[in-house]
């Protein structure tokens, strides 16, 4: 792709109500979208609010809407998203309240992890004590492989911002929280399955998922929340049918 000499960047300024500001940023080799935002804030307009921490795709802080699509900006090369016209449009993540400019408020996102019982509840030491023995979990077992498939989530909320069901139903738990619940349902050391399955069932939970798979398509870590949600539906179907819950 032909690389433009400079980028014409439209950046959302303001809260829920606001407008785009235009900046011209020099194009450089191997430039990431986060580099562009940092350039604007350091060189052009220090009042720009945005969020980042690790810059290497570990922390999940820097996700934004880049040319209409949620992405982790620190690992998104400009040349991958910008055409020959050099146009770049940056907005805060969708489906979340806007704090200011490019910083979205992730509180509802993380509250839903709690609502989905997304925390480990040790079976052997419910009082928080250290168990006497290590739990033996064969890595090749089916349950462990299901859990392993989903545990690398960095909590960036790209899936949540990409999910139509969240847009339609603000109560919907969303792909990340449900993916987290599925990893724990498959953790043989966990004691909270019953409560967790109750928490993720129904209209605000896994049963509203349309399996359109934007979450899986856009997850920067290549996780598959859509399959995790299908797993929860399957598990709840058989558990309910056979009277196990």
């Amino acid at each position: 792709m032909a690389e433009p000499a400079s980028l014409k960047v439209s950046v959302w300024r303001g809260g829920e109500q606001g407008d785009f500001a235009r900046y011209e940023v020099p194009a450089r080799a191997n430039q990431t979208v986060l580099d562009v935002v940092t350039h604007i804030q350091r060189e052009l307009d220090p009042s720009l609010a945005y969020r980042f921490a690790c810059r290497v795709g570990m922390c999940g802080s820097c996700a934004m809407t880049v040319n209409g699509r949620a992405r982790w900006t620190c690992r998104t090369h400009v040349r991958k998203v910008v055409g020959a016209d050099g146009e770049l449009e940056l907005r805060p993540l969708a489906n979340l309240p806007v704090i200011r400019d490019l910083a979205a408020d992730l509180t509802p996102f993380f509250d839903k992890w709690q609502r989905a019982q997304g925390r480990f509840q040790p079976k052997d030491a419910t009082d928080g004590a250290v168990p006497e023995e290590f739990a033996v979990v064969p890595p090749a077992s089916k349950a462990r492989r299901e859990a392993d498939a989903g545990i690398e989530c960095i909590g960036c909320a790209v899936c949540y911002a990409s999910c139509d069901v969240v847009t339609w139903n603000p109560d919907y738990l969303g792909p990340a929280a449900l993916n987290r619940a599925w990893t724990l349902v498959n953790d043989v050391r966990d004691a909270g399955h019953g409560e967790r399955l109750d928490a993720v069932a129904g209209d605000a939970g896994c049963h509203s998922c349309h399996s359109t798979q934007s979450c899986t398509e856009r997850c920067p870590k290549n996780l598959d929340p859509s399959s995790a949600i299908a797993g929860l539906k399957r598990r709840l179907f058989w558990d309910t049918l056979l009277g196990r819950r």
Partner: protein, 112 residues
């Protein structure tokens, strides 16, 4: 409605979908067979009259179609116009059963 009730609705939706996949096929083959085979009204009545298996099939078919449609519309209404709550749920249940009732009534007309 409790999340357990919502889970049951989803299960009914899935199971009726499986039934409908088969039942719609049987229904279409029956209609096309009757029309293209040139059966007269009297001949059709002769086959359906007192045929318990045929009537049972159409009762299951009508119930599945009524419930499947109503549960699907409930989801669409909740997601597109935000129509949710107990009143709406009861209305959808009624719509599903009434739809099924029309189908069963029609089948009964050919059976009795």
């Amino acid at each position: 409605m409790s999340t357990r009730g919502q889970t049951h609705l989803w299960m009914v939706q899935r199971v009726t979908a499986m039934i409908l996949a088969l039942a719609v096929l049987v229904h279409l083959v029956t209609i096309i067979g009757a029309v293209r085979g040139g059966l007269s009204a009297a001949e059709i009545l002769g086959r359906t009259h007192g045929n318990g298996a045929w009537f049972a099939f159409y009762v299951v078919f009508a119930l599945s179609a009524g419930l499947h449609g109503a549960i699907g519309l409930r989801n669409i209404a909740a997601e597109t116009i935000g129509l949710r709550g107990r009143g709406a749920d009861l209305a959808w249940l009624a719509i599903g059963l009434v739809t099924a009732g029309f189908g069963i009534r029609a089948a009964y007309g050919l059976f009795a």
